[in-house]
């Protein structure tokens, strides 16, 4: 787990590559292309790049019009703006109207750590997951960010793609078969399952290693698609391991933990712990320090796993 790579740079370059292959792809940004890295696309395809200024709601509606005109628009800005300021645009004109708009949400979670809670995005997944017809995807590393771009572009329908500002550990290699809607088994284990999304996937793998040292064999699964959710895999893990820990860079309300709890609560109730922000805002600070202070460290996953083990019959 030593190699790290920038997720946003991988995304930005992949977007430009995808634009070379797909002439229908267009890109919009709201004055943050230097941050989201949509500038790579802008430099190569200026005629297909639209900078709408600080106008996130209007930008989403412009993308809707482009989609109605047959284009495949990728809308770029920070996750909190896309999911909250433009939420009604997303609900009415993207989700309800089922327009083929791709919402690329940069700076997910606490990754813009020093800018503080105004720029953190800790409830976007809750809001986006509640939108009918909208797929919700959270990528875990730079490789997956690169793979997600063509997959999202080809997906028939609107997608919310959550990215990160951070340089994060590379956990996948290029042969990783990324398919929207399919969870990924990353480590076998039979005592319990750690289910992670986004940057927490790497931390789940580290936690599993640590748990192995304590004699606990944890299975690790990545749920990159919160919607449509891979219910079959979640229920399989529940049946086979009997206990679950979810881990996400998001409030414990409404994101991966809620999604998994909904599935097992209805079909197969079992000991479950949710790692994430405990219904609070964070603060300004270094990224790793914030993750540690707000309950998103490897140690928090390990502790949650031990609590689950204790609760298991």
């Amino acid at each position: 787990m030593t190699q790290r790579a920038s997720m946003r740079v991988a995304y930005g370059k992949a977007l430009a590559e995808c634009g070379a292959l797909n002439p229908e792809l267009v890109v919009l940004d709201a004055d943050v292309s230097a941050s989201t890295q949509s500038h790579y696309f802008a430099a190569r395809f200026p005629e297909r790049f639209f900078n709408l200024g600080v106008a996130e709601a209007g930008m989403v509606d412009v993308a809707v019009g482009l989609a109605l005109g047959g284009k495949v628009p990728f809308v770029n800005t920070f996750a909190f703006l896309l999911s909250l300021r433009a939420a009604e645009q997303v609900r009415t004109c993207v989700a309800y109207a089922q327009t083929n708009v791709k919402l690329a949400a940069g700076y997910g979670g606490l990754s813009d750590s020093y800018d503080g809670p105004t720029h953190h995005s800790i409830c976007d997944l809750a809001v986006m997951r509640a939108m009918p017809h909208l797929a919700v995807v959270v990528v875990a590393d730079a490789v997956e960010a690169r793979q997600a771009v063509p997959a999202v572009a080809e997906y028939a329908g609107p997608v919310y793609l959550r990215l990160s500002r951070a340089e994060v550990p590379v956990i996948f290699d290029e042969r990783h078969p990324f398919r929207i809607g399919e969870g990924v088994l990353l480590r076998q284990g039979s005592d319990l399952t750690l289910m992670g999304t986004g940057i927490m996937v790497a931390r789940c793998l580290e936690a599993a290693e640590e748990l192995a040292g304590q004699g606990i064999q944890a299975r690790v699964v990545e749920i990159h698609t919160l919607k449509p959710l891979d219910r079959a895999l979640i229920l399989q893990c529940a049946r086979e391991t009997g206990g679950l820990v979810t881990a996400e860079e998001h409030s414990i309300i409404g994101g991966l933990g809620s999604a998994v709890a909904e599935v097992v609560g209805e079909r197969l109730p079992l000991p479950l712990e949710r790692v994430g922000l405990q219904d609070c805002f964070a603060e300004t600070g270094g990224y790793n320090e914030l993750l540690a202070r707000y309950g998103l460290d490897v140690g928090h996953i390990v502790a949650a796993a031990r609590r689950v083990m204790k609760r298991m019959p």
Binding site: D61, L66, G70, C93
Partner: protein, 291 residues
């Protein structure tokens, strides 16, 4: 001041034919809303001439092929005027006039507000105010990228342009010099809670759009000749999006509904329907509508 168009360049026979169609659509609107038991008569009646001019003269459409890629696009941004749009589509041949009686009923293709996925000829879902202009910007940008010949028309409500997101679209349209985009403002000066000039004044509205780098025309929105001329002029403007500020009367054509915010969103009773139809069936010509 904006240029006043006094003389129509269109033949009187065309204007007369369209004015008669306006009357028929108004009758449909009050019948539909009465039948449904809910809906928005005021803003449907105010826009009747505008929508008639678009659907029965201006828009290049093919009712047999609602998804024809080169068709002109129309976005009813003030989606609560859905009954008027449905009446126009039915009379234009997109679906049967009998279907109009299903407005707002379960399983109907005619939802309370327009749904592009259910209703043939509806280009975009609408209802929540403020979206249409930016969506029109996107459609016009797509036309440019695709080298497609269609024009995009957006009908805005006056209360609707109180929404800040409208002005995001206004800036974008001017930035990209979208001369394929025409907005029409149904300026009836009445919104749900009362007069627009009291709730949140728009004036000087022509100056606002001009300051946003739009080509602005100001017309009588019940004068068919002026509407047709303004739509023609918009087609011949290069380098600027156009907005036609159309002064209208909320509830136009039904005396007791006119200028009444109470008729923004309520259905006529049986007796009110009878009175409304009596007015609409006996005249139009003398009350206005002719150029």
């Amino acid at each position: 001041m904006s240029r006043e168009i006094v003389v129509s360049f269109h033949p009187e026979s065309l204007v007369a034919e369209l004015v008669e169609k306006v009357r028929l659509l108004r009758i449909e609107v009050v019948k539909m809303i009465h039948q449904a038991g809910s809906g928005h008569p005021g803003g449907s009646l105010s826009a009747a001439e505008i929508v008639t001019a678009l659907y029965f003269h201006q828009l290049r459409l093919d009712p047999a092929h609602p998804d024809w890629p080169e068709r002109d696009r129309f976005i009813l941004s003030k989606g609560h005027a859905a009954p008027l749009l449905y009446a126009a589509l039915a009379h234009r041949g997109f679906f049967s006039r009998e279907e109009l009686a299903t407005l707002r009923q379960m399983d109907s293709r005619l939802q309370g507000h327009p749904d592009r996925l259910r209703t043939p000829g509806v280009d975009m879902t609408a209802g929540a105010l403020g979206h249409g202009l930016s969506i029109g910007v996107g459609l016009a940008l797509a036309a440019r990228l695709n080298d497609a010949p269609y024009r995009t028309y957006v009908l805005l409500g006056d209360g609707e342009i109180q929404a800040g997101v409208i002005w995001e679209g206004a800036m974008a349209a001017a930035k990209y010099r979208l001369d394929q985009l025409t907005a029409i403002l149904d300026y009836n000066d009445v919104q749900l809670d009362g007069p627009v000039h009291e709730i949140m004044p728009l004036e000087p509205v022509v100056d606002k759009w001009r300051a946003f780098n739009w080509h602005v025309m100001e017309i009588d929105g019940h004068n068919m000749g002026q509407i047709l001329d303004a739509l023609d002029e918009a087609e011949n403007i290069h380098g600027y999006p156009t907005i036609i500020v159309a002064h209208t009367t909320k509830g136009k054509g039904v005396s007791f509904m006119e200028n009444q915010s109470a008729w923004h969103g309520r259905a006529p009773s049986d007796e009110e329907l009878r009175l409304a139809l009596a007015e609409l069936e006996e005249e139009m010509g003398e009350r206005g509508g002719r150029s």
